[in-house]
């Protein structure tokens, strides 16, 4: 079965348009960031978070009143997973696990005739929250460095740079989408927590995967088709790898949808982030990475020929 006959799409020809599309998408994301702000999960905010399952569902209003009696009325209350489970989160900090005890006693007093079970309990001290934030940023930055170094060595420096720029594009667009959609789809919790950061790092890894396959083909074709221009070689390579790129991305995307639907509450944000990341990753491997390398090379060549022209006119 074949989905792709021999294609000869002029990918690079349309690149100016796609530069604009990319920039606009990222800008929209940044606007939303400025307006809506980032929603951090308890990992990065610090605080206490409890997931409580009641025998029968309770009203959020009643919960808030009960929590108010122990001074925690400003907690966040969300539904979690299946019926009757609630997520309660607050930024309050106290020595040890004082806040969790307060929540427990508040619930016991507020719903004296109801049974509840604490499914999950997290307490993150303020120091830890800060450290996790710092570690997350370092992780992303280091991965850029490592990738730029490896690709720069295996190919050429401009390729390394191109790959990283494509990755930065992916991270920003996906981040933007998370911000835009946070709280919009019921049941889909898109706060930034450790699993989401893991998703970003993984999507960096998978997106670069795509990019490298294309670069590899360009490298191979450069050796074979010495008479063609870089642009023509790139287009050829992009077309040749198109079926593989789309099929692999589609398979991974499908698998992520499975994870999104069946993988449990914990994996939901991860699966969503990665699924979207695959889309932009594929796009960026085709349009951003190669286009950048091409235009960078043109610039260098233009400067070189100017220098040559300048020295020969002397």
């Amino acid at each position: 079965m074949r989905l792709f006959k021999k294609t000869s799409i002029d990918f690079l020809g349309a690149r100016k348009t796609w530069y604009i599309v990319s920039t606009v998408t990222i800008l929209i994301g940044m606007v939303f960031l400025a307006v809506k702000g980032v929603r951090f999960g308890v990992d990065f905010q610090g605080g206490t978070e409890l997931v409580v399952a009641f025998d029968k569902p309770v009203e959020a209003g009643d919960l808030r009143t009960a929590l108010g009696k122990v001074g925690l009325s400003r907690s966040e209350i969300k539904s979690y997973g299946t019926e009757g489970s609630v997520l309660i989160r607050t930024n309050e900090q106290e020595e040890g696990t004082g806040v969790a005890s307060r929540i427990r006693s508040g619930l016991q007093q507020g719903f004296p005739d109801r049974k509840f079970e604490v499914l999950k309990e997290d307490k993150i001290g303020p120091k830890i929250g800060k450290e996790l934030r710092r570690d997350a940023i370092y992780a992303v930055l280091w991965s850029f460095v490592a990738i730029m170094a490896y690709i720069g060595i295996r190919f050429k420096f401009s390729y390394g740079l191109g790959a990283v720029i494509a990755l930065i594009h992916d991270v920003f667009t996906t981040f933007g989408v998370l911000i835009i959609l946070e709280g919009v789809i019921p049941g889909l919790n898109l706060e930034i927590n450790q699993e989401v950061i893991a998703a970003f790092l993984t999507l960096i890894g998978v997106s670069v995967n795509d990019t490298v396959v294309i670069f590899d083909r360009i490298r191979e074709n450069e050796k074979i088709y010495r008479s063609l221009s870089l642009g023509e070689i790139m287009n050829k390579s992009l077309n040749e790898t198109l079926s593989r790129t789309v099929i692999t991305s589609a398979t991974i995307f499908l698998v992520l949808i499975v994870l999104l639907v069946f993988g449990g509450e914990v994996n939901r944000a991860f699966a969503f982030t990665m699924a979207f990341g695959i889309i932009t990753g594929t796009y960026s491997s085709i349009y951003v990475a190669s286009a950048f390398v091409h235009d960078a090379k043109l610039r260098i060549q233009a400067r070189a020929s100017k220098a040559v022209a300048a020295s020969t006119t002397k």
Binding site: M1, V51, E95, G96, E117, L119, K120, E121, D122, K123, I124, G125, K127, I128, E131, L132, D135, Y138, A139, W142, S143, A146, I147, Y150, I151, R154, Q194, E195, I197, A198, L201, T202, G205, V206, V208, N209, V212, V213, F215, D216, E220, E240, T241, R244, I247, T248, T251, I252, L254, V255, L256, V258, L259, F262, G263, G264, V266, N267, F270, M274
Partner: protein
């Protein structure tokens, strides 16, 4: 061509990375088969304990009573070793707690100092502010605080002749040893608490990570981990002194202060008083109670505010006071205020009882004991503790043994204080305050006052393992209930299964029989991942299962690269065999480079992540390695074997 050396046929293959002689091809095949079989065998060996463990548990759950005991006995060794070697489930899958404790080195530094004055207290308070923001080392910051203020450290530490530098290095090593000792003590306590497969590690300069799978009662465990286990024996003060103090506080709060109510020994004159501030601790700012018929209560409250909340024991003449449990926090806050503290004599404080007593009306009361501030004896001299039951009244007790030095001291103390009472307190909570009947020479003593046998057992653990050198605070805690864990396992397994089926179907539809071969290799892939996890004694977490699901999708990638390449070569006109070999050799560089870069991000993720996220990074990395192996070696082998036998794989 046949030559004398044996069968020596050569096929024309354009790529230079694969050998072309049939003899060599067979050799290559044999080597490859060997490696594959070895890898499969190794994986099965590593996974065998997991299967055994599962079947043991299955069988055990079907047996009852004597049968199950017999089964356990017969198979004990195998059960234990399987438990050790099976795939570990993360806390998020089996339920349990993960706690990060931080050693409160500032408290230690505070305790080590002598001649503490207000300057020193200011420095300590300043330290707490600074340290709360960062993870920096305590001693250098302490030194800099002293320097800022131009105070010599030797005023408070060690020898009066020591130089700052020496003190700094002493304190540095003392704090380091304290952290190590704390870890040992925590390990000890956890060991005795009998958690299966606990995990205790040091993190950084002063943090301890404790992982306790399957823990049910979190409150208990938290108490176990955090209690400093500071055991103290303190003499009770005279009852009359206690009543005078209570009276003074009462008068202060009610605003009736006269010079002669100042108790002998209080230092400062009671000038600038704002009793209203202190009073509001008790009443919460309401001077008139809301309810209607409490006029006599309200009158009593305004005249004797302290005694409204603290009932002195006038009948027993012990100097104790009784506080209803709902008022406990208020009275604690009140007594800790500096203006109230000034009313207490030197070497005098109230310690709270650990437990409540219930009166005839069913109300619960805490007792406050008037004790000397300095303890007569501390827990450092206790060498053994045993929970037991009192012979006479069947109450739970803990028997303690002291070392020789402790025994001597104890003999001296008890000898000098016959008929006086000594309060036995743990972490400043009094368990009992028995009267000394006679001189105790053997170094024995017993603690009573525990509610039940379980409490006695916890006390025994904590006393035996020793007192923590400094308090531990919980800075991070994550716990997952077992039912959520089971749900997670189920969703993880479902997701994996569906992903696998989808991928298998897709590959077969799109690539026909060659896709089927790729699917077959995928099975090996999963086997290798699980086997490696078991072999490394690594832990499988829910994100880890997500990693396996992702790997199923990504493993296909290498096969797609190869198959697409083979299709191209076939279109270019090569023979099937030649196209297959060319496809593999040409696709190799792309597979290697792309997988290595993904692997790199996995490494970084492992470095910077914690717990479950690390589990994910691990399965990702293992999955990449396994999929490279199975895609490049296993499928190639199968294709070669197929073409050798004339079964030509179809690349669609």
């Amino acid at each position: 061509m046949c030559t004398r050396e044996g069968y020596h046929l050569s096929f024309f293959v354009p790529s230079d990375s694969y050998s072309v002689h049939i003899g060599d091809v067979v050799k290559n095949q044999t080597t490859r088969i060997f490696f594959i079989v070895a890898a499969v065998a190794l994986s099965l060996v590593f996974l065998w304990p997991t299967y055994q463990d599962y079947s043991h548990r299955h069988k055990l759950s079907a047996l009852r009573g004597a049968d199950s005991a017999a089964y356990l006995e017969k198979n004990l060794e195998s059960i234990l070793s399987n438990k050790e070697k099976r795939i570990k489930l993360g806390l998020d899958l089996q339920g349990g707690m993960r706690v990060v404790l931080e050693v409160d080195l500032i408290q230690l530094v505070d305790d080590l100092a002598k001649n503490k004055d207000d300057n020193f207290k200011a420095i300590i308070a300043d330290m707490r502010n600074t340290i709360s923001e960062s993870d920096a080392s305590v001693i250098p910051i302490l030194a800099s605080k002293f320097q800022e203020r131009g105070i010599q450290m030797r005023r408070y530490y060690y020898n009066i002749r020591d130089e700052d530098a020496r003190i700094i290095s002493e304190l540095g090593s003392e704090t380091e040893k304290a952290v190590d000792r704390a870890i040992e003590i925590v390990r000890n306590r956890v060991d005795q608490y009998r958690v299966s497969e606990p995990n205790i590690q040091k993190q950084g300069a002063r943090r301890i990570i404790v992982e306790l799978p399957g823990v049910k009662d979190e409150q208990e465990v938290r108490g176990l981990l955090q209690g400093t286990a500071k055991l103290e024996f303190r003499l009770l003060k005279d009852a009359q002194v206690s009543y005078k103090v209570m009276d003074a506080v009462d008068k202060f709060l009610s605003g009736k202060v006269e010079a002669d109510t100042a108790v002998a020994g209080t230092k400062t004159a009671i000038k600038e008083q704002k009793p209203a501030d202190a009073l509001s601790e008790l009443t919460g700012g309401k001077t008139q109670s809301a309810s209607s018929d409490t006029s006599s209560e309200a009158k009593f409250l305004s005249e004797h505010p302290f005694f409204s909340f603290v009932r002195p024991d006038d009948r027993g003449n012990t100097g104790e006071g009784y506080v209803e449990d709902k008022n406990r926090d208020k009275v604690i806050k009140l007594l800790s205020r500096p203006d109230i503290q000034k009313l207490l004599p030197n070497d005098f404080e109230y310690l709270w009882s650990a437990k409540t007593i219930t009166n005839a009306d069913g109300k619960k009361f805490y007792t406050i004991y008037p004790v000397k501030r300095t303890p007569e004896l501390t827990g450092g001299y206790v060498v053994d503790a045993r929970a037991s039951v009192d012979q006479e009244d069947n109450r739970p007790i803990v028997n303690m043994e002291m070392n020789s030095e402790g025994s001597r001291e104890w003999a001296r103390i008890t000898g000098a204080n016959i008929n006086k009472r000594i309060a036995i307190s743990l972490d400043n909570a009094v368990f009992s305050a028995p009267e000394v009947q006679n001189k105790i020479t053997g170094g024995h003593s017993r603690i009573t006052g525990m509610a039940n046998a379980n409490e006695a057992r916890l006390l025994e653990i904590v006393l035996k393992a020793g007192a923590l050198p400094a308090p531990l605070t919980i800075i991070e805690q994550r716990s997952v209930g077992a039912s959520l864990g089971e749900d997670s396992i189920r969703s993880g397994l479902n997701a994996s299964l569906y992903a696998f089926i989808l991928t298998v179907l897709f590959m077969v539809i799109y690539y026909n029989s060659s896709g089927f071969v790729a699917d077959f290799a995928l099975l090996f892939n999963i086997l290798f991942i699980l086997g490696t996890l078991a072999g490394f004694r690594a832990t499988l977490t829910l994100p880890g299962i997500a990693g396996i699901v992702l790997t199923i999708g990504m493993a296909v990638d290498a096969n797609v690269l190869i198959n697409e390449r083979i299709r191209e070569e076939l279109q270019g006109g090569k023979t099937l065999r030649a196209a297959i070999d060319a496809g593999y050799s040409k696709a190799f560089s792309a597979i290697a480079d792309s997988n290595i870069t993904t692997f790199l991000t996995g490494v970084i993720l492992y470095q910077f992540g914690t717990g479950p996220v690390q589990g994910f990074a691990l399965t990702l990395m293992i999955g990449i390695a396994a999929s490279m192996f199975s895609a490049i070696i296993i499928t190639h082998l199968i294709f070669n074997m197929m073409t050798d036998r004339g079964l030509n794989p179809n690349f669609g």
